[in-house]
Symmetry: C2
Subunit: 212 residues, 2 copies
DNA sequence: ATGCATGAGGT
DNA sequence: ACCTCATGCAT
DNA sequence: ATGCATGAGGT
DNA sequence: ACCTCATGCAT
């Protein structure tokens, strides 16, 4: 398990970079380059089979082992996941792909993708409807986040009241915001690149937005 | 040429839908299904060659015929273009692909992608730096756009002043906003779908955002 | 492809 | 009662 | 992949 | 002087 609590309010630092953003080739004894190559060929072979990410996800539901959603497959192909996650998903996709290609060799063109599901939901708890924040609310949320990424309970109450959304929805927004920021380490990395020799253009066009 | 001026301020209507969003199979005598299939196999074969969209774009620069940027290739593969555009790009990609695969059959693995360009810019006019609008400015712009998608010269002046950006940058924002909206026709199309029979849940969770 | 929601596991 | 992390649903 | 910029062609 | 449309650059 990695160390906990490594976001000390400065918008810097990172815990679990995604593979895509990692520059090194081996992390925690995991060969990232190997995973990168598999992700690439997986995508090619999936497309050759003529299948969408959604279809693969449905097909996985029909197998014995663990299943993954379209979202997970999308993130795997983009390498938008931590090495640890990739290590879990990879064998599942690998095994499924092998079997799918075998069936394809024979003529079972129909049997590869899972049947179109008759969405058997309506079982168990109903999931809360997704909240959409208005642009105005997002302005407030983001500016509050810049002030403090870990607002206290009282602060959350006040923010929720200000923008007119449920308290818990605001709390979760901060959780998700923190989580997504962790995957954004590559922010401002290679800056000293080769450019035009003079700095004239650099000065001429200040990118400061407020200048009425 | 299609009819001009078909955005009568109601956020409805559409002139040039993209192929992706078109539901019919033939438009203006162009076989969309045919283009869809080519786009799919183009992507597969590009990936089999191990090339990125960027590399294809660079390779096209090295050929005689017309060249296209990575952006154009991306939009073609996603079918995020009008049928008319697709008809222009398609033969270019088709010819390039054939030649690339021939070279690949022989062993010229290196010669397929264009050489890494030593970006010979700094010739001719310098392009204006891209403007980034702050979330606050976007809130204003979008609300003004809802009021009127074709603000007069005076109105543009006043908006520019209000948000503190150059007048022309604001004008162009409205142009681009109108343009991108045209490609968004599929907004609210299939609404009468099969759902849970009762309407209880429909009422319980009003999606109106402001409810403090 | 991505933003909000869930749930397991932890303090 | 909060958090993180992996992951999914619905867009 | 996508938002702002450019330029051709048009009123 | 405005517009649309196709397209590119830089993110």
């Amino acid at each position: 398990m990695p160390s906990p609590h490594c976001l000390p309010d400065s918008t810097e630092d990172l815990c679990q970079p995604t593979i895509k953003q990692s520059t090194s080739n081996i992390v925690d004894g995991i060969d990232l380059e190997d995973i990168r190559e598999f992700a690439r060929t997986f995508k090619v072979r999936r497309l050759v089979l003529g299948l969408t990410q959604t279809q693969v996800g449905q097909a996985l539901c029909a197998t014995e082992g663990p299943a993954y959603s379209q979202s997970a497959i999308c993130r795997f192909e983009k390498l938008d996941i931590t090495p640890r996650s990739a290590l879990k998903i990879r064998p599942v996709l690998e095994n499924w792909l092998r079997e799918a290609e075998e069936k394809h060799q024979q003529g079972n063109l129909q049997q590869i993708a899972g049947m179109d599901f008759i969405n058997i939901s309506a079982i168990g708890k109903i999931r809360k409807r997704r909240t959409f924040f208005s642009p105005e609310a997002l302005v407030v949320l983001n500016s509050r986040f810049e002030q403090s990424s870990h607002p206290s309970g009282r602060e959350i109450n006040s923010i929720a009241q200000e923008i007119g959304y449920e308290r818990d929805v605001v709390r979760v927004w901060f959780c998700n915001k923190r989580q997504s920021l962790k995957h954004c380490q590559s922010f401002q990395r290679s800056r000293i690149n080769l450019k035009s020799s003079d700095s004239t253009e650099e000065d001429r066009n200040s990118s400061s937005p407020t200048q009425p």
